[in-house]
Subunit: 333 residues, 2 copies
Amino acid sequence: MIETPYLLFLGDAPDQLAAKVAQGIRDWRPQNAIGQFRLPGCGADVKLNDMTLAEAREKGAKTLVVGVANRGGIISASWKKVLIEAIEMGYDIASGLHNLLRDEGDLVAAAQTHGRTLHDVRVPTVGYPIANGVKRSGKRLLAVGTDCSVGKMYTTLALDEAMRKRGKKSTFRATGQTGILITGSGVPLDAVIADFMAGAIEYLTPDNDEDHWDMIEGQGSLYHVSYSGVTLALIHGGQPDALVICHEPSRAHMRGLPGYQLPTLEMVRDTALPLARVANPKCQVTGISINTQHMSEDEALSYLEAVEKRMGLPAVDPFRQGADRLAEALDAI
Amino acid sequence: MIETPYLLFLGDAPDQLAAKVAQGIRDWRPQNAIGQFRLPGCGADVKLNDMTLAEAREKGAKTLVVGVANRGGIISASWKKVLIEAIEMGYDIASGLHNLLRDEGDLVAAAQTHGRTLHDVRVPTVGYPIANGVKRSGKRLLAVGTDCSVGKMYTTLALDEAMRKRGKKSTFRATGQTGILITGSGVPLDAVIADFMAGAIEYLTPDNDEDHWDMIEGQGSLYHVSYSGVTLALIHGGQPDALVICHEPSRAHMRGLPGYQLPTLEMVRDTALPLARVANPKCQVTGISINTQHMSEDEALSYLEAVEKRMGLPAVDPFRQGADRLAEALDAI
């Protein structure tokens, strides 16, 4: 568990896209972020107050979150200076970078000296169990995709928000580093040892109130040959009651796999649902989430209408329209 | 790669079952095993000459293979004494135990002093790539199961042997620790990090002659919720041209999962084949392998006949009948 509130470190992000972790925290857990810290030349701005380390600390900030991707695969000297100063002031540091904080001797030394914690959210810190398949109480929804990076995290975060606005009990369950940094906890599933993947998801989504929903962030795709095993572990470890199928219509091929076509929504439904029913015979597909960012408003709406008719399920772009209709569909489950 | 030939360490195995790794080597790679080493009270015997460390070393043994499961999860003092003496005589040590050789300070010290290698085959030693899905040359067969521990390793070892007896090019590809110790190499898939599972199988089964078959040992089952992700990584990383479905008819429920029924052969076929065709559109199910150890000869033969008729595919128990008919079926692929 990463202590909140955060100060978001944007560093010298060349552009807004490089700060997408910080933007995710700003969008989904604004109450967790007290301010932003930018170095000279920073090209990103997540519209929080710019603060010094000392100012944010005074306002109660507990953790400096690296909300930016680094260039060239190193933690630069200018970043280091800030991170070490932060540790000296009493901040924990949290990062989802490939380069681990724990591999940087000077950061480790500073953290030990000052009794602070370095959170590398890409690395599991729990000894997860092997999945036991025992039926859990409460309800769970899992986002499954036609491909990687089609909007599964966004969809489940939006669903979680829509549910809570409707007065329902809901928890977003992060399974990747961005989601973990946004919410402060989760399972970095892609870094878990094979035998423990499904068990890690059981651990992430334990027994709960019967009217509580876990909104489980999906990973990969059953049709993505590099990561499909991770997806199936989510389906079987998650025991979902509901699946939402996520799709991005402009892809020419599977991400990183030229020559591999995307499956249709029907193919994903017909593959995922029987597999999900092994763990939960009552599982249903309850909605479709389409990422229409590459379409005009008119194109998007007519595309969504066509999908809705074709699939017989609510089809929305949660970014354009919110996830209310996906949330409403869960009332019947 | 573990250096051969081996001396098989049976230790103080309480019974034959505890020495199943040694028995596997004896059955499938007898040319790799010079002899067996037993401690007083050993209840196992794999019918090799009993030898001292010195005798086997003189005959050329390079590696002492721990061919026995340990009790109580510790490497006992009586084992240690032998392992250290072996290292001092120039042996490498190979083990598939949960307790790693590398975690034993005295073994590590001895190995460093004498320049020997400790092989913990449960632990990956390679930085596997992320799968790229690129079509590989040569042919590959994968054993898929209705459940765990139904005979997938045995089936692929028997198929490999049958193919080579027919003068065909074939290599058994181990994906678990017993298989790795039997053949001296492979991928301990259950210990690989999630993101690299499929890539590890691509690495294990690279481009080969067009008429060469890799016989890939399966793991888990698409219907076993604890390990299904590992199975799907094998299906997508392996790009199999042929699947053989393995089954053990006496199971009351999935291994370790009371309340989970076994799927039918048809269910496994209809789930595995479309998934396999994502990576290799030409994939076919070519045979059924039934573990009939709990049946009489008559029962077994009539069960196999019924399965063969029902599935329209050769159905054999390779332990009773050999795998010739499963191998013949590959001529058409």
